[in-house]
Symmetry: C2
Subunit: 319 residues, 2 copies
């Protein structure tokens, strides 16, 4: 257990990730209320919106209203997502309240790149070259390489650690061309192929090549292994995780089975706190926010913990 991190940084993506898949429009005021409630729990990183094509993603037609509408809390970093120059420009209008950093986003699976981004890996690298130039020109630092499908792919099957290393290396090369220093590599289990062993091997391979880079995990609970995978990461010292409160983004209704949720923020917090790893988060407050998220979307969320309550709540009652 020598490698357990003393504390973890949790990047809450519930507001951004959670609402775009909901069938009904979520009122802007509810999105803002959720963001403000999350900031009260001790979370320090909250992704609040997507600046995407509003015709394709009508759930984020109100991105400007949300990002301009919430009351920022001191010490909390708010971020947003964008995929092109237009989205970036929309985000830049809120530069005073958003922490803006640029990513070089790649997929370890060429098949996924084609299916999801509509361009193969080589073409995507070119797009990332252009995007990096645009980011730097706008004064947005590019410090992160993200690897989607880092542990397997529905269209390509298994992904090897060597493929992940090659993908990261390709991203590092783009960064180097532009004189950027990459401090963070994010490995995303986009389609729920990770297992603890694959997490261990993937991290070991990336860390061997880039020992000074900070590795983050973006895990989906597609097949129920997300918490076990996070635990494997923690034991290797991983200290940065993307999560969603309540498991927002997932949905227990079989009709929407494509929407596999991220690892639940509160379940990761429970795991960490019970292992002596600091999160800075008030778990009971976070559980209440998870219940609030459930009321907002109007259906049960995947999180078990928001239904069961924290251990500390029972400890207090038992004492």
């Amino acid at each position: 257990m020598a490698d357990l991190p003393p504390r973890v940084d949790i990047h809450e993506e519930g507001p951004r990730e959670g609402f775009q898949i909901e069938p009904g429009p979520i009122p802007t005021a509810d999105k803002i209320a959720l963001i403000e409630a999350l900031a009260e729990t001790g979370l320090r990183h909250i992704q609040v919106a997507s600046f995407v094509n509003t015709r394709l993603v009508p759930g984020w037609a109100d991105a400007e209203a949300v990002v301009g509408g919430f009351k920022p809390r001191e010490g909390v970093h708010y971020s947003a997502l964008w995929f092109n120059e237009n989205g970036m420009s929309r985000a830049l209008a809120f530069r005073d309240r958003l922490t803006m950093t640029g990513s070089i986003s790649l997929a370890a699976s060429n098949a996924f790149s084609i299916k999801n981004l509509n361009r193969g890996h080589a073409e995507n690298l070119d797009a990332m070259r252009r995007q990096t130039a645009v980011h730097l020109k706008a004064g947005i630092p590019v410090t992160r390489v993200g690897v989607m499908a880092a542990f397997g792919c529905n269209y390509q099957g298994d992904i090897t650690p060597a493929q992940v290393v090659q993908t990261v290396a390709d991203g590092m090369a783009v960064a180097a061309e532009h004189g950027c220093t990459i401090t963070d590599v994010s490995l995303a289990d986009t389609m729920g192929w990770a297992t603890p062993i694959r997490i261990e091997r993937g991290i070991a391979a990336v860390r061997e090549r880039w020992p000074d880079v900070r590795i983050g995990l973006h895990l989906h609970d597609t097949r129920g292994l997300a918490v076990a995978n996070a635990h494997a990461g923690l034991k290797l010292g991983v200290s940065k995780f993307d999560t969603t409160v309540g498991g927002l983004g997932g949905c227990p209704f079989a009709g929407q089975k494509g929407a596999a949720g991220n690892i639940c923020t509160e379940e990761l917090v429970l795991l960490c706190e019970e292992m002596g790893i600091a999160t800075g988060v008030d778990l009971d407050a976070l559980i209440e926010v998870g219940r609030m998220a459930e009321r907002i979307v109007g259906h049960v969320l995947p999180s078990e913990l928001i239904h069961a309550g924290s251990l500390d709540a029972f400890r207090r009652k038992a004492a």
Copy 2:
């Protein structure tokens, strides 16, 4: 990873555990169909019914019809649950088709013992003395000590490994009084307090005292950590798990939040098979049975995997 077991024995408890909490009566024919379908997946241990007070548990009023009605499959061990002599007698009528073994069932939490069994630990030990005598007289071997609330308790709070060891020792003493040899100790996370660290410490403590006993884990996914806990057990060589297909016994509807499901059989199978641990189970067939269980209960079950599909199914498509 040297301690990973080469194979695990999975004790499927879905038919017994899953139906008693459902609000509507489940037709006997559906229970039988599920049992027979489970036996076709390669599972070798299936708990098929509870011989309990039919007034208190109307969902098992048809225990005799179920146990007498399914077509046994060669090589599969079918078991049932009972809590008193009357239940045992009802089970004995099906001795030709049931594998009957006796347990000494204790709780590591005195408060839970009082709440759940309506008797404290000392009184429960007396009850287990009487029950062990009854079992032996009926020719039922008593080979197992079960410890409920082995990792924590909603009424008493944290449970230490020392308390677990003491509880097992008390059960071992009852067995010794009757000349029984205990081969199996089952540690149950009855209320979802386990974490990987607590699993490691609990197992280490029991194993240090009784190095030759086989330890099994009965895990509930009350707070989302069940798979991580199972993984911690596997890494310590635990090779016996109680599970329920689909996570039967749990329910995603907040109104029934007391009903936290067991770890899903298929998620444990996925974890094991992807780690190279044999289960003997055809995962795709099991996922189909999980979907069948969902149709039978008429609502979505907690399992993520039955909604997402196996990795092998995608591997075949990708190949």
